[in-house]
Amino acid sequence: MANKLIGFRAALLAGAILLGASPALAEAVLHRGNAGEPQTLDQAHTSINIEAFILKDLYEGLTIYDTAGKIIPGAAESWTVSDDGTVYTFKLRENGKWSDGSPVTAEDFVFSLARVEDPKTAAGYANILYPIKNAEKVNKGELGVDQLGLKAVDAKTLEITLERPTPFFLELLAHQTALPVSKASVEKNGADFVKPGTMISNGAFKLISHVPNDNLVVEKNPEYWDAAAVKLDKVIFYPIDDQAASVRRFEAKEMDLVYNFSADQIDRLKKSYGEQVRVSPSLATYYYAFDTRQEPYSDVRVRQALSMAVDRDFLAKEIYSGSQLPAYSMVPPGLQGYEPGFADFGTLSQLDREDKALELMKEAGYGEGGKPLKIEIRYNTNPNHERVATAIADMWKNTFAADVSLVNLDVSSHYAYLQEGGAFNVARAGWQADYADAENFLALSLSANKTFNYGHFENADFDGLMKKSYDEKDPAARAKLMHDAEVILMKEQPVAPLLTQADLWLVSDKVKGWADNVNNEHLSRFLSVSE
């Protein structure tokens, strides 16, 4: 009996092997690996970019990014800005429709944005829209939702009033939190409006099915205003959180696109796949923070010395196989109209830096001949962070004869500890820009910023310059103020920027229309596949 069963299984197995690959499909399907399961498809709760990739294919905001990462009109066909820069008037597309055929109205946008700011919604990214008049007060429950600076002038005209001129407001509107929801659908279905079969969207695609941790299928939306130009019939998102697994599935030709893989695979993949491996610098900084509240890290010389002794070229070239760039400023280079305030030691050679670092450390009275230097590096559990910490520990050991130990915790414990003000020596952190503006990076070190400023850095000059920049209306003068602030920050080194990060993609030869861009924006709408 048992023998027969085995035979039966074996026959099935052989048959299955013979069947081989699945039959070719006539329709254009993009198989898109997506680095993890989306936690939500609700624009009010979304927080990570793997959700943004899906949401931005499903919905279209007032503004969108093109393949080059430039802001272009989305659901709004055009807009005007008042002279003082505080009132934006958007003209919505006449032929903009939801996937059920009903028109996209200004009222939908007012409803969507108000929903995000409503404290009852508890939106995780509510603060990104705080530039809208009264948004912060509404979100904190101090004012009613109707007090927001939003107004539907008529069905296709939307007027947004801001708290103060915000040069990057159009970029904020391209964030997934600012995507519209159908007012009718949310009012009818409540929290279920995100479910397949119920969801109504206004983007190039509509949601067909979703099996958590397996796949999420979207199909071309025939009601979309530019449907004729959409070349894909179907996009299947595969949430794969194991980076090695996603690479294997790409190599088995099951995926056309894969987002994020382990940096130590780059050399091998480049050898086998050449141009299909895409490395594009992004607006993200990998940094170490020093706890400025305690000895010896309260001493600026110690902070400078430790930062200088880190051989960033080694980290970038050897640990990250060239997929990241050495960083000497908190704000990554490449922002339009902003000149980063680089740390002055950036121009020195590594050996000179080490000489200088030793001098500084000696002055401060630590290291060889002085007080012993005991350093604990905290980081969140991740193979890459571990490799960076290991390398840096070795550098500090060699340069200062320091006693360096490592401590890693899972993401939640690590950040909870830092955000709740726990004492530490040196801690890893990273920051990915929510919008392309330097303020996003510099605000992390404001003394008033209790949650983000892990090292509790306090510098009146820095705070003062930043405060001035918020009131400055002229973009060039504002950029200058921020630049000066960053120069102070880099002199003080409460944070030691290590690397400017990059987004890693595997893009199959089959995929056409792909372009790397610093915002990491890749709408499926602009892509096509060829056999």
Binding site: A2, L13, I17, T40, A191, V211, N215, A245, R248, S412
Partner: protein, 307 residues
Amino acid sequence: MFSFVLRRLASAVPTLFIVVTISFFLMRFAPGGPFNLERPLPPATMENLMRAYQLDQPLWRQYLTYMGNAVTGDFGPSYIYKDNSVAELIGKGLPYSVELGFYALLLALVGGVIVGTFAALRQNSALDFAVMSVATVGVTVPNFVVGPVLTLIFAIVLAWLPAGGWGDGSLRFLILPMIALALPQLAVFARLTRGSMIEALRTDHIRTARAYGLPAKSVVVVHAMRGAMLPVVSYLAPCAAALLTGSAVVETIFTIPGVGRYFVLGAINRDYTLVMGTVVLIAIFVIVFNLAVDILYGLLDPRVRHD
């Protein structure tokens, strides 16, 4: 018999209750919460979230609320997968885990028993040694090594089978994860079968049967097997519970949409409700399979009585 089953089921209720209580408080003593992310949330947002999920209430109150809801089958919303309730997530994932686990169990059990029996019949022969060595390797190589190696060979180099995913659920998607899942268990079954088969072959009634000149094969199958299955059956319970509730490792490596990954994900992301849901699920499986095995025991061994 019937009253035995009833009694056992009734005694499972306090067990479950204690398991849930322990897990609930254990989770809450952990540092960090579901909303401590790499990107810190501003205090106002954090407050809104805590209020929305009633995490701002005193712990005893949260516990009472949770228990009250759990009794009615409501295990609350998931904190990470915000669009889904815990019941929905487990409901969607469980069929995949159970199906894959069932095949793996079948493969492990049938394969293990056959291999073990052969080894026992040729005790201390080269075949015995070879078979048991292979089985030992099966137990010792962790499945996070077996998985990638299998994929590398069969999906990338030979391109015979898919590298992962559930696809349409057809067998070719299941073969590799099934093997990775079954291999260690197959080895355990083989060792258990071999050990008890050797014992059984030495007992008097088998010797008698052999002395009467019954052919070796039928002696084994008819007589020895029945007695030798007891340790195999008792291992069946923990094995089935483990395989059917999914494996975090295999599901991650082969991107299977089952429930196995949820307890690790939940614990790491402090998704309290998701973790609790998984705990309850696994506890139920363990209890039910232990009961089933006790019943099976009674059928196989008349000396065991349930009264």
